[in-house]
């Protein structure tokens, strides 16, 4: 009973803060709404006994990624950014796509089967704790996808380094950019 009430509360808050995040005028307020949203996402994970995911959700998304969003918001000049041209001419095209996506997602819903399946029923996860269960699966059964994900991240890190380095190494390029900005 308590779990259901908690789930409903989290679901309502997620939808509400999600709507507020895209409708609020002030981008910093939007980011704060997303922060509240992430906390309720973590709450949903807790109802599923996935406490490790809940903690990582807050540490990674709220503690790192969203802070970087704030950084970007503070560093770019917002008045200029607002003037960016639209990607599509009519707002209705976007609305149709969004509506279609929503219909597709709702259409998928009946394929969800309730109940537990797989090697890790709830009782067993609780017995060995969620962190251990996840670590074991990730480093044995799913070691290849895990390593591939790690490699992709490494590529991204090196790419970021190269892009940042080029500006510093080539002062001519930097001055060009500054002139363009003026």
């Amino acid at each position: 009973m308590f779990t259901q009430i908690f789930f409903c509360y989290c679901a309502v808050m997620i939808i509400g803060t999600g709507l507020l995040a895209i409708t609020m005028r002030n981008p910093v307020h939007s980011v704060l709404m997303v922060l509240v949203l992430f906390f309720h996402m973590a709450g949903l994970y807790l109802t599923l006994q996935a406490e490790f995911l809940a903690a990582v959700q807050i540490i990674v998304y709220a503690g790192a990624i969203l802070v970087l969003y704030l950084f970007v918001l503070f560093l770019v000049s917002l008045r200029e950014e607002v003037l960016i041209e639209r990607y599509v001419d009519s707002a209705w095209i976007g609305r149709i796509f969004a509506g279609g996506l929503a219909v597709a997602l709702i259409g998928i819903l009946p394929t969800f089967i309730l109940g537990e399946k797989g090697n890790w029923p709830l009782a067993r996860v609780q017995e060995v704790t969620h962190t251990k269960a996840m670590g074991q699966e990730m480093y044995t059964t799913f070691i290849l996808p895990f390593e591939i994900a790690g490699l992709i991240l490494l590529v991204a890190v090196i790419g970021g380094l190269v892009l940042a380095k080029r500006n510093a190494a080539d002062p001519a390029l930097q001055t060009d950019e500054r002139e363009i900005q003026k």
Binding site: V28, F52, V56, G63, L70
Partner: protein, 323 residues
Amino acid sequence: MMQVLILFIQILVLFAIVMLHVAYATYFERKIIGHMQVRMGPMRVGYHGLLQPIADGIKSFFKEDIIPEQADKAAFRAAPIICLVAMMTSLAVLPFAKGWVLADINIGLLFIFAMSSLASYGVILAGWASNSKFTFLGGMRSMAQVISYEIAMGLSLVGVMMLSGTLNLTEIVEAQGTSFTGMYIFPQILAFFVFCIAMLAETNRVPFDLPEAETELVSGYCTEYSGMRYAIFFMAEYIGMMVMAAIGTICFLGGWNGPFVIPFFPPFWLILKIYVFMFFFIWIRATLPRYRYDQLMELGWKLLIPLALANIVLTGIIKAFTS
């Protein structure tokens, strides 16, 4: 129902005790710094200034609370509360002695990381909402600093997690055993070094107090705050110090275990060790000058993170060979 009531009373008791500790931590700090600089520190209110924290508390309660005209009112009001709530919530998972813990959860260590990363939002928001250059710079500095040092701190504790095989703080203490040599400070001396430096940076203490550098930024992110809201930032900072000291004690110094058991008051050794850490904080503040900003970033990214990573690899190799 009865359980909820008991839990509520426990929360209130913990809150009251921590608040008193915070008040007297400021006294402790002023006295120690005073003596280190060959002066007496607070002396006027009560015997050797013992009632000074109470007087300060009452004073900040009754001071005028000013909100700048151009400030973002909602965010300005929320910022100190976010700071305090984030710090207070971490207290719930700290085990003060065997069984003396409000919420004995399996992910205690991760929970504390999550809460400490939330606290940086309070600082950033305070800096942004005050609509002043000094506070904004302070907020930005804090943001960059906390992100950088959180990584080093998290990585430094991975060695402890590997040795104990758990994230539950009570179990981490128990894994160290009651003997002196069982403490993780010996096998994890490298991690302890990284942790100590990252701890200072995370709590915005000297020598890494750039977010509130008095000589450059007036008072950093809390420049525009006054009265009780300013005091709340201070409380959050001191509770943060206490939480970090408790983590250091639990993960490296054997938690509540001591040379002998104190009857009726098992948390004695933990509190003593926390105060040793607090003394360390204050000692450093009285001794060292502030780091430059680029030095701070260099230290964090080029020294502490590689050291912490090397420690993880070393711990892994040793554990693989010995078990």
